[in-house]
């Protein structure tokens, strides 16, 4: 099965981030050729027809999200691009931001037209210095060429984009946390409802989408929603960027048609596990998604429904490969440390609970765990998950519950032998260059 290149339609060795290069790839032609003959509702309609689901992790259909905007509001509408890519294992938006920023900008201009937003923000995590630089350059180029500003080239409407730099906080990846961050506050999340479409940035109706989602819009409008929907599966349409890392021979970012068989992807496209080692575990959609054992992966295809059926989630499309010889307790210790570090301090179950989870996993790894600890872990997660304002609490529980369930023997071995059978650290495989 040949996978399409909708987002990665460029030679990675070229100066593909420039306006000149994007124009050569027929960039901004959707804006200048299709938009003059389309009403905003028609643009929205095509996005709805495409069935594209939010690529940030939650997978909510973008067109439906857009249609939640109130029709009778006299407040300005804002569009935000969420470039706060922070889910461990995810580095796919970075490719668009650094190497194809004009496609994102065109997508935002089209989305802004559909939802009648005059001002858009691109929020990029503060650590992405190079992406910030490239996107700002692209925005400046687009202004100079008249694709941004008042009365756009080829279309009779205005659109402004401001690039906003984050400052290090995983929780800001949540849409309401991100809005608070743009407003100059701590990036803690807000209770919903009200949902952002009704009351978002500056208390105004706001649509917020992931980088990959918005960058797909030019293709959708150019080829039509139906064409996009014909790619992938019925419930997971289109292509998806996958970032694969860990113990894999060819890590990187790949674009595949949704519905692609997982084992083909791992073994054929990505060269399999490094050093021909045996596969031990797969985290299929970013560190928050439940871990899978190799036998769970045999039959799955890369799409929302198949991975959900296997008990996990496609999430942000960040696939982590763990080879035989790695300690799963140590791996979980790293993950629980992360969620504890990133818990924003707002909700008690998450603030306190993530710390307890880390403490317990750490002591099991150090050989000081007790058998009761395993039940204790799952009883703590029960009291965190779905008892917090934002999904960070739930995200912290996914790995804990699944690691303990799927690799219970390894946890018990740590407890019974009073130590880590892998020597308490990760083995660095010699295949590493």
């Amino acid at each position: 099965m040949a996978n399409q290149n909708i987002l990665l339609n460029f030679d990675r060795n070229g100066a593909n981030h420039t306006l000149e290069n994007y124009l050569k790839r027929k960039g901004y032609s959707t804006l200048s050729e299709k938009i003059p003959n389309m009403k905003p509702e028609q643009v929205l309609d095509e996005v709805k027809k495409s069935g594209i689901r939010g690529r940030g992790g939650a997978g909510f259909p973008a067109g439906i999200k857009w249609s939640f905007l109130p029709k009778d509001s006299d407040k300005p509408v804002y569009l935000i691009c969420n470039g706060d890519e922070g889910e461990p294992g995810t580095f796919k938006d970075r490719v668009i931001l650094e190497e194809n920023p004009h496609m994102l900008i065109e997508g935002m201009i089209l989305a802004a037209y559909a939802i009648n937003a005059k001002h858009c923000y691109i929020y990029i995590r503060g650590e992405y210095g190079f992406a910030l630089q490239r996107v700002q350059q692209a925005v400046d180029e687009a202004y100079r060429a008249g694709y941004l500003g008042k009365k756009l080239t080829g279309a009779n409407y205005s659109c402004d984009i401001t690039v906003h730099k984050g400052a290090g906080a995983y929780v800001v990846g949540d849409e309401t946390g991100l809005m608070n961050s743009i407003e100059g506050k701590k990036g803690q999340t807000r209770n919903k409802p009200p949902f952002p479409a009704v009351e978002g940035l500056y208390q105004c109706p706001t649509i917020i989408n992931n980088v990959e989602t918005l960058a797909s819009v030019p293709w959708i409008i150019d080829h039509g929603g139906a064409a996009y929907h014909s790619i992938g599966t019925e419930k997971s349409s289109g292509t998806k960027l996958l970032s694969i890392s860990g113990h894999v021979r060819k890590p990187g970012v790949y674009e595949v048609d949704l519905g692609y068989p997982f084992m083909d992807f791992l073994n054929k496209d990505c060269g399999g596990v490094i050093g021909n080692r045996k596969l031990k575990a797969v985290i299929p959609g970013g560190s928050s998604t439940p871990v899978l054992r190799p036998e769970d992966c045999e039959k799955i295809t890369i799409d929302y429904e198949s991975i959900a059926e296997a008990g996990s989630s496609l999430g942000s499309g960040a696939i982590l490969i763990i080879a035989e010889g790695s300690c799963m307790v140590k791996t979980l210790e790293v993950l629980t440390h992360f969620y504890h570090h990133e818990s924003c301090g707002q909700c008690t179950p998450c603030r306190e609970g993530t710390g307890w989870l880390h403490k317990i996993v750490k002591r099991i790894e150090a050989g000081q765990g007790k058998m009761e600890d395993l039940d204790l872990l799952t009883s703590i997660t029960k009291h965190i998950a779905f008892h917090t304002i934002c999904p960070l609490g739930d995200a912290a529980c996914g790995p804990v519950d699944s690691f303990v369930k799927k690799f219970k023997d390894e946890f018990i071995e740590h407890i019974k032998t009073g130590g880590c059978p892998f020597g308490g650290k990760f083995v660095r495989f010699q295949e590493r260059v």
């Binding site: 210095g129 984050g166 961050s181 790293v334």
Partner: protein
């Protein structure tokens, strides 16, 4: 402490980009950190005055986000990612190596004020693990030898140009 002329111009422009000037809190903090290397109490007061905000609103932003420093750090802050993909690919060995070469622990600064060592959570460079960030620059696919060279170059104030990520192919 005051904003210089270039910064003042930038602030005037930024004010046109947001309907509420409180949104300038992060941009102004970045502005000061870029110039001074950290955001002092005096800088917090300056931002609060500029934006007509209670000082505590600015102070809580400084302490809540992980990238703002309240104190002087080393000239170069080495932030080694120690999250899952980097850990799987040996980031702890890189951290241990830096500690032994610079004779500091994580969180400390070398006596000459040149380097501060920190660990970081996922920096979105998992395909090129292990990696570290120094200022705006990512250093990827680290090995002990590579780290030695990077430290030498930094001592001579050389940082190579940033390029898009280049993924390896292992055996």
């Amino acid at each position: 402490m005051e904003f210089n002329e270039t910064e003042k111009k930038k602030i005037a422009h930024l004010r046109t980009r947001y309907p509420d000037s409180r949104s300038l809190t992060l941009p102004l903090m970045w502005m000061i950190q870029k110039r001074k290397g950290f955001v002092s109490d005096e800088a917090v007061a300056l931002i609060a005055t500029e934006l007509e905000l209670p000082k505590i609103w600015v102070e809580e932003v400084r302490s809540w986000y992980s990238m703002f420093s309240e104190k002087q750090t080393g000239k170069y802050v080495l932030e080694v990612c120690n999250n899952i993909s980097c850990a799987l690919m040996g980031s702890q060995e890189i951290i241990d190596h830096i500690c032994s070469v610079l004779k500091i622990k994580v969180g400390e600064t070398t006596a000459d004020g040149m380097f501060t060592l920190k660990t970081a959570e996922c920096l979105g460079s998992c395909g090129t693990a292990p990696m570290m960030q120094v200022g705006d620059r990512y250093y990827e696919l680290l090995t002990e030898e590579k780290v030695d060279q990077i430290l030498e170059d930094l001592k001579n104030n050389t940082q190579p140009e940033q390029k898009p990520q280049q993924w390896p192919e292992y055996k």
